[in-house]
Amino acid sequence: MENVLARVQEVFHDAFGTDPQLISLETTPSDVPAWDSVGHLDLASRLERGFGISFDVDDLMGMENVREIVRIINSKL
């Protein structure tokens, strides 16, 4: 889980320029100004490329915080 989180933090940095230290499992879209509807898709594409996985629409709807993102990624690895 920690390893996946660290890689997710890096993707947040690449996508939104957010300091990786500020991204925790509890982080939600309201904590990251650029994490809006378009940002969400950009983030998802970067995660897909970074982890070599693909998300379906229901995965995207479920990514309401970083904990859920990590959980969904883990379920596909």
């Binding site: 100004p33 378009v38 969400h40 629409v57």
Partner: protein, 493 residues
């Protein structure tokens, strides 16, 4: 006390509210009843006047897509103040520029913020839900038809936004023409995900309330299925989106399986949506009518509309001018061009706004004897339909909103380590057009790419940043966007 309609747009709107005029927040379930809304707009206006603000004073309204922002905006206008709707996040980030640019005497946000950069005296900072700021309602402020009703931000030639001066008469004329073009009845309910600070978003609020209908607000479009379920739950009849929104719905939502039987119409504006995407939306949700529209903040909101019954025949067109507007296509000397020839679109009519605040020269250039120079290039066909062919190379359109290259370049050039910058537009699957930046760094500067990325507003999408040794220029020393390495779009210089 009886309220006479008069010229005050908000006053007229309040008078026309009906039994369907609910304002609902889909995320929280908060609902403002029609009878309360009828009271809240005037009483919020009265509470502003009780603080010592006077009609004509400008007030920044921090907007999120919500009932309370809408009431604050309409309440200020009702009292004769001049609301300046600004996205709450933008307001918090650039309050000093906003105050300076508008001369506002007050700022309202629903939540309380610690604003940095506000002068210690002279600016009134107000917050709280309009329902908590009540005063005995007064009649709407009397005003002339061409009195300033609102200032609406748009991208200018510097890093600081420019403000379009919209009159009460502009709002009334455009709202009534849009209602006619969409055949809105008095039992409509719009699903609004667009910000109120954006003229398209505001026009949806205006038209639905003015016609006695209501609005559901939803800020959760990053999870589009939630919005689609809310359309169903609240039985919305209208959905409005820019191309980005429809692209996301088609690629990243369950629009094909979520049922929305109440929906009567889709509204689409804010740049061209590929004809193929229009066809896909109609195949996914066949019942609602699909309206393509074209407009600009400088024209209050909407300029033209493609009626659904002509959609197949004229797919790709921006439709015909609203019934109170005249459109012509002109060459560079301002001479009328015949059907089929491409030139700049000029628009005249009662919804052409008063001009740019504090920019007399630019206003004279763009608003020429009542004719608005749109900067968009188009031709008319034999039936009078507008076909947009591009635009003069001064803007790109991200998420349906115009952003001037000059503003982008001014912002990037201000980042330490940047010697020179130029911006181009590239096509992007979600936002329509995104930025491609070319930067000449200062000698010995560190990692400017990261710095630049962080300095851009969050609602700008930057596809690429490239470090180059020089910016291509024309013989006259102007930046030649056409000579940039990417295939830039929208450059008709």
């Amino acid at each position: 006390m009886a309220v006479t309609p008069g010229n005050n747009f908000s006053g007229r709107l309040v008078k026309r509210l009906g039994e369907h005029s609910y304002l609902i927040d889909a995320a929280t379930g908060e609902a403002i009843l029609p009878s309360d809304l009828h009271q809240l707009i005037p009483s919020f206006g009265a509470s502003l006047l009780s603080t010592g603000l006077k009609p004509g004073d400008r007030i920044l309204i921090g907007c999120i897509s919500s009932p309370s922002s809408s009431i604050a905006y309409l309440g200020a206008m009702y009292a004769g103040l001049v609301p300046v709707p600004v996205e709450e996040s933008v307001l918090v980030a650039s309050i000093a520029d906003m105050l300076k640019g508008t001369g506002a005497r007050a700022v309202w946000t629903e939540k309380s913020f610690r604003f940095d950069g506000i002068p210690k005296t002279g600016v009134l900072v107000l917050h709280g839900h309009p329902a908590e700021r009540r005063a005995d309602p007064l009649p709407s402020a009397r005003c002339e038809k061409n009195a300033l009703a609102a200032l609406v931000a748009t991208s200018g030639s510097t890093g600081i936004p420019r403000f379009v001066m919209v009159s009460h008469g502009n709002l009334t004329a455009n709202t009534e023409a849009i209602i006619r073009s969409q055949y809105l009845s008095n039992d409509e309910r719009a699903m609004l995900i667009l910000p109120l600070s954006y003229c398209f978003g505001a026009s949806v609020l205006h038209t639905h309330l003015y016609q006695g209908g209501g609005v559901v607000f939803d800020r959760r479009f990053m999870f589009p299925d939630k919005v689609l379920h809310a359309i169903n739950k609240y039985e919305c009849t209208t959905f409005a989106g820019v191309p980005t929104v429809y692209n996301i719905l088609l690629r990243r939502s369950n629009i094909r399986s979520i049922t929305m039987p109440s929906l009567r119409r889709f509204l689409q504006a804010g740049g061209p949506l590929a004809p193929q995407r229009v066809a896909e939306i109609r195949a996914a949700v066949p019942k609602p009518k699909f309206y393509v529209m074209y407009g600009q903040t400088e024209a209050t909101a909407r300029i033209s509309c493609l009626q659904p019954e002509h959609l197949d025949e004229k797919l790709g067109s921006a439709g015909r001018p609203l019934d109170n507007l005249t459109v012509r296509i002109v060459d560079e000397d301002g001479k009328n061009l015949p059907a089929g020839q491409v030139g700049e679109i000029m628009v005249k009519g009662p919804s052409i706004t008063l001009g740019y605040l504090n920019e007399p020269e630019e206003s004279l250039r763009v608003f020429n004897h009542g004719w608005l120079r749109t900067g968009d290039l188009a031709h008319l066909d034999a039936d009078g339909y507008i076909w947009i062919d591009g635009r003069k190379g001064t803007f790109l359109k991200m998420r349906g909103v115009r952003v001037s290259f000059a503003e982008v370049e001014a912002k990037v050039a201000a980042v330490p380590g940047v010697y020179e910058c130029t911006a181009a537009a590239v096509t992007h699957p979600e936002v329509g057009e995104a930025l491609a930046l070319y930067i000449v760094p200062d000698k010995g500067a560190g990692d400017v790419i990261d710095q630049v990325r962080r300095s851009l507003p969050v609602y700008w999408t930057c596809e690429s940043i490239q470090i180059v040794s020089e910016i291509p220029k024309t013989a006259r020393g102007k930046v030649s966007r056409a000579s940039l390495p990417v295939k830039a779009i929208g450059t008709y210089e």
